[in-house]
Amino acid sequence: MEKPLTQHINLQQPLSLKEYEAKGGYSAVRKALKMTPQEVQKMVQESNLKGRGGAGFNTGMKWSFVPMGENAPHPKYLVANADEMEPGTFKDRLLLEGHPHQLIEGMIVAAYAIQADISYVFLRWAYKKAAALIRKSIAEAYEAGYLGNDILGSGWSLQMHLHTGVGRYMCGEETALLNALEGKRATPRAKPPFPQISGLFGKPTIVNNVETFCCIPHIVNNGADWFKGLSKSEDAGTKIYGVSGKVNRPGAWELPMGVTVRELIEEHAGGMKNGYKIRGILPGGASTDFLTVDHLDVKMDFKSVAAAGSRMGTGTMIVMDDATCPVGFVHNLQHFFAQESCGWCTPCREGLPWVERILLSIEKGEGRTEDLELLQMHAQFLGPGNTFCALAPGAMEPLQSALKYFRDDFERHIHQKGCPY
């Protein structure tokens, strides 16, 4: 089984630029520079690479909206979204700490494809080790001539900077991220105009997830068909999957896109810890709908998880065991979302704290039967189309599915006037 993204991962001592070059590193930059930017874009589009940050949009297609040619506005920007703050998600940390040069190589190739001039790695504050590694790797890439002016004599120039955030989930939302980079509050922007047309400082900008960029060098080196062939499903490539919760071996693994939930939990995570059973699964981070034991054979790709009523999200799943109270679990999630709401739009700013308080009162045994209707109502009013960005609808996904699958638990709390767990 090929594992292009993680084959060189070394958490103790990641490859230096020289060591990476000896293993073929940065060959994708050399190859891309011999192609036209449009050819690189087309190759990525044909590979059917879909964004790994959660939404799953075709990456090459996303790039194709950037104005090109002599009349295009400059500077154009490219940003790696390394804000990873979705609860339960720890896949980008692996790529950042284990092989920083792969990200930088992917960013350079992507920047060439859209003819960007300036690039940023937007890294969350907590990733201290990654910050040091990225800083060092960027310096090495400048030294070797892969960054800076007239890269490898191509006439094209690219600058790259590390930007560390100061802690806010919303910084991961791509337009809010651009505001944060501009020194503003991380509230989202209205779309259109899309960032590809008017992004950072009003210039054409591409934002992609770390894992997305890490796929790019391999696609350019090996071709679109090879990338599609890595997968077990319609969605191309490999994916970094992860499992956390009371399993025997929590962790993250690179596997063909489309492995089943069962394979992940039973084989790779070593099954549930002694004495615990699976109650529910959030397949792709905190803002995805629950799956249950009835969904163990669902394939972890964008389409299959959607068909099962959830979302692939970040592909890092959280397992809820049978000794964990679903009401307490969902309360914890809503506490997070209420805290991290940016406050820009009313349904989310006002609604999420209500949801959190209702759940807390149910958990404490002070709930009323009508509260379940109230929660249901919020799940609709804070759902897609009613808020400015996807934070609130994302928050409603685990709530609405918990009300569906674990309704008994909510009712028991209310009738017994307390938490039975």
């Binding site: 609860p87 940390r93 900077h161 020194g183 991380a186 499992v243 929590p250 993250a252 959280i318």
Partner: protein
Amino acid sequence: MLSESEIHAIDHEVSLVPHKKAAVIEALKVVQQHHGWVSDEKLEEVAAYLDMSPAEVDSVATFYNLIFRKPVGRHVILLCDSISCYVMGYKKLYEALHEHLHIKFGETTPDGRFTLLPNACLGCCDHAPALMVGEDLYRDVQVQDLENILAQYK
């Protein structure tokens, strides 16, 4: 007054962006690095230096979780209270920290040694529960580990 080294660091950040205002988060980070937190006085100085109003700077400062607008202890403990750490028992760690240090979330020990804060997912959910002290990350933390961890910070 902003010190020479603060001004030097802020000037560098300003040089990287198209207009001064865009460096405000970086400027606040610089101040915090020098003083541990951002006082009203410092905030006003940053505002004056970047030609912004204090209210505008404060709207940014108060938005971000890790810009401290109140004094903090010498060491800030960030305890992950998100979902995987919830499942793996962060509450036990909280109770033990509370018992040991006699502070709740948001409080600082009277000797100014520790501030305890909740933090959203630290991105190591496969090693939950997790916490950071200052810039150091601790994973798979058990209650019995806490004493040794804390002892390293004077």
